[in-house]
């Protein structure tokens, strides 16, 4: 349960990017979260609600995409994708799984509101 510190880190990154691009606010935030990221998307949303006030993301919409966990069964070699972590192979029931991916905790994209229209260099 450390979603609040993840959000603090997220907002810190976004504030730096917004500063670099001279944005007056951030209107959208898209992130990707895997089942082995160590955070729960629903709790991340709550933490974002708690934290946003007074920050650059105060009025931003947060979109969370849940990325799948990929696992290869070492017994039957079947590869599966699932959005929740489970310790057994859905094909043969073996618990001997090789886990590949699923630890994503990624800021994919933000939408910025800038003051002036972006014009070509004069």
């Amino acid at each position: 349960m450390h979603e609040l510190s993840v959000v603090a880190s997220l907002v810190e990154t976004i504030e730096a990017l917004a500063g670099e691009h001279k944005a007056k606010s951030v209107t959208g935030v898209w992130i990707k979260v895997g089942p082995l990221s160590g955070v729960v998307p629903e709790l991340l949303e709550s933490a974002f609600e708690m934290y946003r006030k007074g920050t650059i993301v105060e009025s931003a919409r947060l979109s969370i995409e849940k990325t799948p966990l990929r696992a290869v069964c070492r017994a039957c070699r079947v590869e599966t994708e699932r959005t929740d972590y489970a310790p057994d192979c859905p094909a043969c029931g073996s618990t001997d799984l090789e886990i590949a991916g699923g630890t994503d905790l990624i800021l994919e994209r933000i939408e910025l509101e800038t003051d002036e229209p972006v014009s070509p260099a004069q």
Partner: protein, 222 residues
């Protein structure tokens, strides 16, 4: 005017950057950094006390302790003659690289081992790299042999598993082979040690492994 910005950046990237700096600074000096994580009460501090006794005279170590509150763990380590710093997180469930970076300037550069004892928690600490070369996860026999798959991230990201309190095996329905195989199915590369701080079982093997790991680090940076 709205503008889309593709970022594709790890949300904990700042932590990873600081962790990489800690790792580079310590390894350049030949310091092996270890991050110990487990549930509360699995025996992290007791293991460090035992390692302090075994390394004394031959190797120098320092310890950074992470807890929600109190100096108790650091005091226990200092009582063994080992320098220790206590980080009290005041509620935070894990240590972050920046907390370590703040303490690091006070730690002598002439040490061989820097042990970081994380906050007792098998979930959150696993998400934060502290600059360690070896991540050690401890599992004590009273916790049960089914924990690795219930808390996969800690076991997936560790290099070493230490099963503690082996002296209690006769009294518990704990199947050490099941605990090992659960952990190894998740992470086949894990080095597994079974220890008892009370009887001393396994402590010499673990100490020898740590000393060899530190020698390998020094050889790599010679």
């Amino acid at each position: 005017m709205k503008k889309q910005l593709y970022v594709l950046r790890d949300i904990l990237g700042t932590n990873q950057k600081v962790a990489a700096e800690i790792k580079a600074a310590c390894e350049e000096r030949g310091i092996l950094v270890l991050n110990l994580m487990s549930s509360p009460g699995a025996g992290k501090t007791t293991l460090l006390e035992k390692l302090a006794e075994r390394l004394a005279g031959r190797h120098r170590m320092a310890v950074i302790e992470g807890d929600i509150e109190t100096e108790r763990d650091a005091e226990r380590i200092r009582a063994k003659g080992v320098p220790a710093w206590q980080i009290t997180t005041g509620g935070a469930c894990h240590l972050e690289a920046r907390m370590i970076a703040r303490v690091l300037p006070e730690v002598s550069p002439d040490i061989d081992f820097l042990f970081i004892e994380n906050v007792g928690n098998l979930v959150c600490p696993a998400g934060y790299d502290l600059g360690e070369r070896l991540r050690i996860v401890l599992l004590s026999s009273p916790e049960g042999d089914d924990k690795p798959k219930k808390y996969p991230k800690a076991f997936l990201t560790a290099q070493v598993l230490v099963i503690t309190k082996s002296d209690l095996f006769p009294h518990l329905p704990f199947d050490v082979e099941r605990a090992k195989s659960e952990a190894l199915e998740l992470n086949p590369g894990l080095q597994v040690f079974v220890i008892s701080a009370l009887t001393g079982e396994g402590l010499d093997d673990l100490t020898a492994f740590l000393v060899a790991s530190r020698e390998a680090l020094r050889a790599g940076h010679a």
